[in-house]
């Protein structure tokens, strides 16, 4: 029993050589896909491997990556969070609204309600024992309703002053990379440390692997579940605030369908939807795959519809690869 606490690899299912091989194949799979896409991209247009374009890709990835970070925690714990798209939009609008009283107020006004929505999700799932899919579907609607209510039914778009600190968090660069990219890197590093090296991280894997077993082991199952949804609410809100700062306005129409993109990125990255297994590096690769696809399609003047077909095919391809490798490892 204590082995699980000290060795997360048991819970994450990479204990035997064979399974480790399958895990590698899974992660390699997405790396291979990413490498192929980069190759296609650099062949199909010259400007792909320029500093400017790579900077662009990095900043465009950062917002989805931050959302997908929280989603990875939720999915590893065996849940799902459909509300992130709405919370992302809500966070952006709240930040743009609160910035009139200063950057700190703007950030707090964004993070506190978004965190509260995450906490509400977590409480309903952990203590109410309600299905995560439905709970977060309800908060998807509720958060979108809240968003419309505070923007005169979506008619008001609030601009963010260019000289405010919060706006510069979205727009400034440091060592050539946008601040959101640095924030993403810091958050992912912190996330990896938390998942791999802390008791909380190990609980997340254990709860996702088997809720009953985790309960029997005396792990704080309900608290762990609550915290992962809180994290997801906070990351979605923060990403929304940064995206709003990047475009210097709190737009109400963003974020629709973002939950699906985040889930797809997490799944492509090798995190199992059934929980108990997954990596943040994989998620980052999944996000990059999506952004590179976007980049290829926009540079070649292909419309979003063909782009969406390609995304659908990539999701199926990645999951097929995952399922087949996992199954081979089992038999």
């Amino acid at each position: 029993m204590t082995a699980v606490l000290t060795e997360p690899s048991v819970a994450s299912g990479r204990s035997t050589g064979r399974e480790r091989l399958a895990g590698l194949a899974q992660r390699r799979g997405s790396v291979v896909v990413l490498a192929l896409l980069v190759l296609v991209a650099s062949l199909s247009f010259d400007r792909f491997l320029t500093v400017g374009n790579l900077q662009n890709i990095a900043i465009q990835s950062s917002f989805l990556a931050i959302v997908a970070l929280g989603m990875t925690f939720v999915i590893i714990s065996g849940g799902i969070d459909l509300s992130v798209g709405s919370v992302f939009a809500l966070g952006g609008v709240l930040a743009a609204y609160g910035i009139q009283w200063g950057s700190l107020v703007g950030l707090l006004l964004c993070l506190v309600p978004c965190g509260a929505i995450g906490l509400l999700n977590g409480m309903l799932v952990a203590y109410g024992r309600l299905a995560p899919f439905i709970v977060t579907l309800a908060t998807l609607l509720g958060a979108r309703g809240l968003l419309l209510a505070i923007t005169d039914e979506g008619a008001t778009t609030r601009l963010m002053p260019r000289d405010a600190l919060l706006t510069s968090l979205g727009q400034d660069t440091f060592l050539g990379l946008g601040i959101p990219v640095w924030i993403t890197l810091v958050l992912f590093t912190a996330g990896i440390v938390v998942l791999q090296r802390t008791g909380f991280g190990h609980s997340v894997f254990a709860v996702g692997g088997s809720r009953e077993a985790a309960t029997l082991m005396g792990l704080p199952v309900a608290r762990t579940t609550m915290v992962v949804y809180l994290v997801s609410g906070l990351t979605a809100g923060l990403a929304g605030a940064l995206a709003a700062a990047y475009s210097a306005s709190g737009v109400t129409i963003v974020g629709e369908g973002l939950e699906l993109e985040a889930i797809a990125a997490v799944v492509i990255g090798g995190t199992l939807l059934s929980g108990g297994r997954g990596t943040l590096i994989g998620t980052l690769i999944g996000v990059l795959i999506f952004t590179v696809v976007n980049s290829i399609f926009t540079q070649n003047n292909l419309d979003t519809s063909t782009q969406n077909i390609a995304k659908g095919v990539i999701i199926v391809g990645a999951v097929l690869l995952q399922t087949l490798t996992t199954r081979r490892a089992k038999t």
Binding site: L140, L141, V313, I315, V319
Partner: protein, 313 residues
């Protein structure tokens, strides 16, 4: 939990949606102007019809412990196919749209039943890709429908009841009979209740799953045709948008548990009607869309909370 304490809750779980619907209708009759008119009732029913048709298929899929996120995109594909083949006549065009829906269902069914991918992810791929496909088929354009037969299907009435509503009623009856009185219906419920036990009992689990997703795809295509006929235009970029969520909501509010093993067709109808009436009532009382969404969110949570007692006891 004692039997006595459990009873009101069980009653609410099983009949809450009907009670809520009756209460809301009573409220509307008394307090809402122009509610109890034939034209208003027809408007409400016509508006709810496409959601209901999609929700019928969704109820079956959820009964197998699955979910079908692709329905909105399948509607868009059906809508995009219609104007391409209307030149050959109405029936061939509708037929091809339904075949496309069936094919989409087969893709979902194969991924879920044969490959063993979780339904959320399998159908998510078609949700993302399907609308793209629809837009490519339609060249990204909205096309006006001029075929008189199709326009009549969208606007015409028989005995004062719109065709659209009649189609929804007919499909509801068919799905109800399918679940209640056929072998397939029992196999579906058994598969959703306990898949491995069903496999051990020798039920054709894969075929049941496949058929269920095909039915869901075809019903979504029907909804796409109906929505297009009503709109008098094929608009693949917006038709069916977020219908997956509306359908899931109707099914869950109607008392079908997400954990599978139970399909409540009439509850689904009541769920769809309830959500439609709430929005209509709030709009008629000049409350904004945002309030409607927040109220709907609260209703979903209450509905799922009531269902919880089923698993807890």
């Amino acid at each position: 939990m004692t039997a006595v304490a459990a009873q009101p809750r069980v009653w609410l779980r099983d009949n809450g949606v009907y009670a809520a619907l009756v209460l809301l209708m009573a409220y509307d009759l008394v307090f809402t102007e122009n509610f109890a008119t034939v034209s208003n009732l027809n408007t409400q029913l016509v508006q709810v019809a496409p959601v209901l048709i999609v929700a019928l298929g969704m109820a079956l899929v959820i009964g197998t412990e699955g979910v079908d996120l692709s329905v909105g995109s399948v509607m868009a594909i059906a809508a995009a196919i219609l104007p391409l083949y209307l030149g050959y006549g109405l029936l061939p065009a509708i037929g091809l749209a339904l075949v496309a829906g069936a094919l989409c269902g087969m893709v979902n069914g194969t991924l879920v039943a044969v490959v063993g991918i979780q339904p959320i992810v399998a159908t998510l791929a078609l949700l993302v890709g399907g609308r793209g496909l629809a837009l490519v088929l339609a060249d990204g354009q909205l096309k006006d429908i001029r075929n008189p037969a199709l326009l009549d299907l969208g606007a015409g009435k028989a005995f004062g009841v719109p065709y659209v509503v009649l189609i929804a009623v007919l499909l509801t009856v068919l799905v109800f009979l399918l679940v209640r009185y056929t072998t397939f219906g029992r196999q579906l419920v058994a598969t959703g209740g306990n898949r491995s036990a069903s496999e051990l009992a020798g039920l054709p689990v894969r075929r049941v799953l496949m058929t269920t997703y095909v039915i869901s795809g075809v019903l979504a295509a029907v909804a796409g045709v109906v929505a297009t006929a009503r709109l008098t235009a094929s608009d693949p970029s917006s038709v069916g948008n977020l219908y997956e969520l509306a359908a899931i909501t109707a099914v869950v509010v109607g008392g079908t548990p997400l954990s599978g093993g139970r399909v409540r067709v009439l509850g689904t109808v009541a769920g769809a009607l309830l959500m439609q009436l709430i929005t209509a009532t709030l709009i008629k009382h000049d409350l904004p869309d945002s309030t409607a969404q927040i109220v709907q969110a609260a209703i979903i949570v209450v509905a799922v909370y009531l269902q919880r007692s089923r698993t807890a006891s």
